[in-house]
Amino acid sequence: MSKVAVDQAHRVVGSELVRHDAVEKVQGKTVFAADFSLPRMLHAMLKRSEYAHARLVAVDVSAAEAVDGVVAVYTAADVPNNTVWVDVPGQTLEVGALKARSNVLADELVRYHGEPIALVAAETEDAALAALDAIVVDYEPLPVLDDPERALDPDAPQLHEAGNLLAHWELEEGDVEAAFAGADVVVEGEYQTQFIDHAYLEPEAGVAWRDTDGVITIRAATQVVEHFRDVARILELPDNKVRVIAPYIGGGFGGKEDMTVEPYLGIVAASTGRPVRMVWSRQESLIARQNRHAVRMRYRTAADADGRLLAHDIDILSDGGAYALLSALVLLYSTTCAVGPYRCPNARIRCRTVYTNHTPCSAMRGFGGMQVTLGYEGQMDRLAGELGLDPLELRRRNFLEKGDVLPIGQPLETAVALPAIADAVLERLEPLPEPGGPRRAVGRGFACNLQPYGRCVWLNDWASAWLGFELDGTLTIRIAVPDIGGGQASSLVQIASEVLGVAPERITIHIGDSALNPLTGTTTATRQLYMSGNAVLEAARELREALAGVAAGLLEVEAEELEFRVDGVRVRGGDRELDFRTLLAACASVNVAWHVLATYRAPKGIPWQAEESWRGRVFPDFTYGCHAVDVEVDLDTGQVRVLGYVAGHDVGQAINPQSVEGQIEGAVAMGLGYALSERVVFEEAQNLTATFAQYLIPTAVEVPAIESVVVESGEGMGPFNARGIGEPPIGPPAPAVAAAIRAAVGIELTELPFTPERVSAAIRAAGGGR
């Protein structure tokens, strides 16, 4: 690392910079995946299963092939390598238990409603639609498994050769039985969460073509350009003959982390030699795209008379749907986060995820750290109730501190600023509003959480970035980061500008290209600011050091006396300066390069060994939060209105405060939808939630004004001590709303979402209705 100090008072980092990508987006000029077209482009569509579990007796595509305008129809037999084992996306190492089998097109069996069976490529979309109508599939329906509790029964339909247990993690820390025996209070709770759809506004889409030298190039809305390797395997091509480009993406949230359109585009482009576009309809995205896992959690919790946690005994069963995808990794997050941001000296945690005929479940914002917030916070509220303690006070008595270790063995090496966050949130709160009418009640609830940022350390994560000056003093960044709307690209511009002085408007960043940009890993796991940011920071510092050396010689000062400004380099406190153009020319004459390729490596970890009583680090670090919500409940209709919301997080250092707020507000809105209205509804594993009218994401009316309280502890593993903020704020809303509803009407809700129907039924059951 460079020894040149960066100016302590940040110039650009910490300022509310208008994102460069926003200027084009607000004018509608951004070319999203489906906005791109090439001459002679074909259109590809998928024929999807109507059954949740069936044997494919016959798939007759002859009538489809005969439709005017249809160029090709593919089934499983036509795919060079139809079944691939996919590693955790973006990984370069084998990760054993986390690898998942993936089918491109169904061959003998379909295991979920909407599973792709055949692929059509046609000159027009209308021809493709007509071809889909003409494909005749002969199904032999099979018994459907739609109850995860039954999945492990010996007589349940076996969905995969190795049985229905997809993955499991178990640990036991301390002496749980003794802790329960000696406890002053024990509370129990069973909590149930629902399947969730990502519901990004941009449906899955992409365009592929065969480029120079036969490189199959796929420009798709993806969070992971490293999927070029998986496509290469499917097409039986060398890795370096496939290129994935990620344009600006209309929302990801984990739903574009696994492959979506990429394999199909690759197949058509490779076999026809023509460009091809595939755009999924919203309806097929809702039916067939992977969901957030539905999870059943049983918690038994023991505490002493002062409310200090003694033990948790936790059993988690997660419905993984028909294929594994990232389920094992998601479950690991649940295992790590299951007791919440609290000291818990004794814990038994058993987590299992099973196959069913539901839509395959995989990554979604918060991963497995999301569902468990309802469990651990629900238990804290029960304890507070039993002991007659203020819920926030009970939590304060148990907050983790820097230096503590989670039950799984994870050390906490940065500040755990929860007390300060809670104080800041309390300070921001207004008095609870009065109910708006005679049949309304109001209540306030709190919830805290922890969420990892950065990938699981066993994955040996790294990120690379290339920075280089142009001869006219402008700066170019090349980094294969996908930007899904969270300002991934613009924050890197800010970091480079901070270190090198170049104005943000004079920096161009090339993103998301697996062939032309250094790989930097996935835009997932709240890792990009941490990883790519550190890579860019590293590169910028090296570049600065190199240029400073040359400038110091020319200006006859020490390198430490130099400041990097908008136009060039200046001696601190003086007036001697050197503009970039002159400096770069000087670099050329002394053979000093003005570009750098840097790689940042995350801390490594030793993977879980299932045979031993494993303890260790799982993640680099965590972000902590404390939220408060005010709700008004309609006693007759059960409708819950969110009146106000305050969300507090320690972000270490805010690179772009407006972006930080934007991430907090967006995640809270998503969390409120999870709490109150969103769910994917199945009936015998048939996905009934087929329209955007039925999948209830909150509108501008349901989401209140959200106050972000940003605490900056100055400790974090990201650049300038930043912590990740993309995922953490999504966890607290559901338990906070549960607590607020309890405060308002005295009912306990443990099944998500808290629909008006469930709320009104609970009110009546508690005797509060009419």
Partner: protein, 291 residues
């Protein structure tokens, strides 16, 4: 994802439109605002062979005549929502209109389209039932009038026959001393109603209820007038305790459909709450107590 191919005509006269709609050799459907029909076609739920665009027909506009208000079938929801004159004449229609879909749906959607589509959750169906009056239907043989209470005949089924068009409705103006009330329960803003209640209450000089009308959307295969409940209003008044009993009566009377998203029981309860609240505010408006 997209509508399947069809032919499209845009006739200039009602006679031409009727002839096109009356085609027997293929499925011909009229399109007005298209805010239900086009999404249905995109979802594959409707596959007409021919669309007959009614845009050029002289079916917009409204006029007051002899204790009724005549509303052309092509009156846009937006006009119902924003016209000062209609708000004065038919305040219940004006109030309900702003709950129809989102603003862009209201910019295009029409009264005739909504009533002819006859979604049981449609607000305007309940509004029309509450005011009462006639639906004027035109066919090859000319015009005929159907009482609004006979217009809605089942799920997405009305008195409009093959080759016919709803051209206008004529709503009865309530007497002086009448107040309106509207209440809707929906999942989110702009969503279809889980249940909605439309009410008109007339009071005498002492403020007592002399006449009450109540219609519900979303609780059956068509919008419903609840005459038994209306009788309760006249007999027992509309104070808070009476409203509570009315809510209970509605819950007991209606028999809505349930589905995996919303149970029949909840729809009934929502209807009960809507009815009590709509009647309550109609009564207060009639008495001049509601701002």
């Amino acid at each position: 994802m997209y509508p399947r191919p069809f032919e499209y005509v845009r006739p200039h006269t009602t006679a031409d439109a009727l002839e096109a709609i009356g085609a027997v050799d293929r499925e011909a459907r009229p399109i007005a605002g298209g805010q239900s029909l086009v999404p249905m076609m995109s979802l594959g739920l409707a596959t007409p062979d021919l669309l007959v665009d009614l845009a050029e027909l002289p079916l917009a506009g409204f006029e007051r005549a002899n204790g009724t208000v005549k509303l052309g079938a092509l009156t846009r929801h937006r006009e119902l929502e924003r016209s000062a004159e209609l708000a004065e004449l038919l305040p219940l229609a004006s109030a309900a209109a702003r709950y129809i879909g989102n603003p862009r749906v209201r910019n295009r959607g029409t009264l005739g389209g909504s009533l002819s589509h006859a979604d049981p959750a449609s607000e305007l169906g309940a509004v029309a039932l509450t005011y009462g009056g006639f639906a004027v239907i035109e066919g090859a043989e000319g015009e005929r009038s159907v009482a609004i209470r006979d217009f809605f005949q089942g799920f997405f089924a009305t008195a409009v026959g093959p080759g016919e068009l709803l051209t206008r409705i004529e709503l009865e103006l309530p007497p002086p001393g009448t107040g309106h009330g509207f209440y809707e329960v929906a999942n989110r803003a702009d969503d279809f109603a889980t249940a909605a209640a439309t009410a008109l209450v007339t009071v005498d000089d002492s403020g007592a209820c002399t006449e009450a009308r109540l219609a519900l959307a979303g609780v059956g295969d068509r919008p419903l007038r609840l005459e038994r409940v209306e009788e309760m209003c006249r007999a027992d008044g509309l104070e808070q305790d009476a409203l509570e009993r009315i809510g209970e009566a509605v819950i007991e009377t209606v028999e809505p459909e349930g589905d995996p998203f919303t149970s029949a029981d909840y729809r009934a309860r929502a209807a009960g709450a809507c009815a009590a609240r709509a009647l309550g505010s109609a009564w207060r408006r009639a008495r001049g107590e509601h701002r």
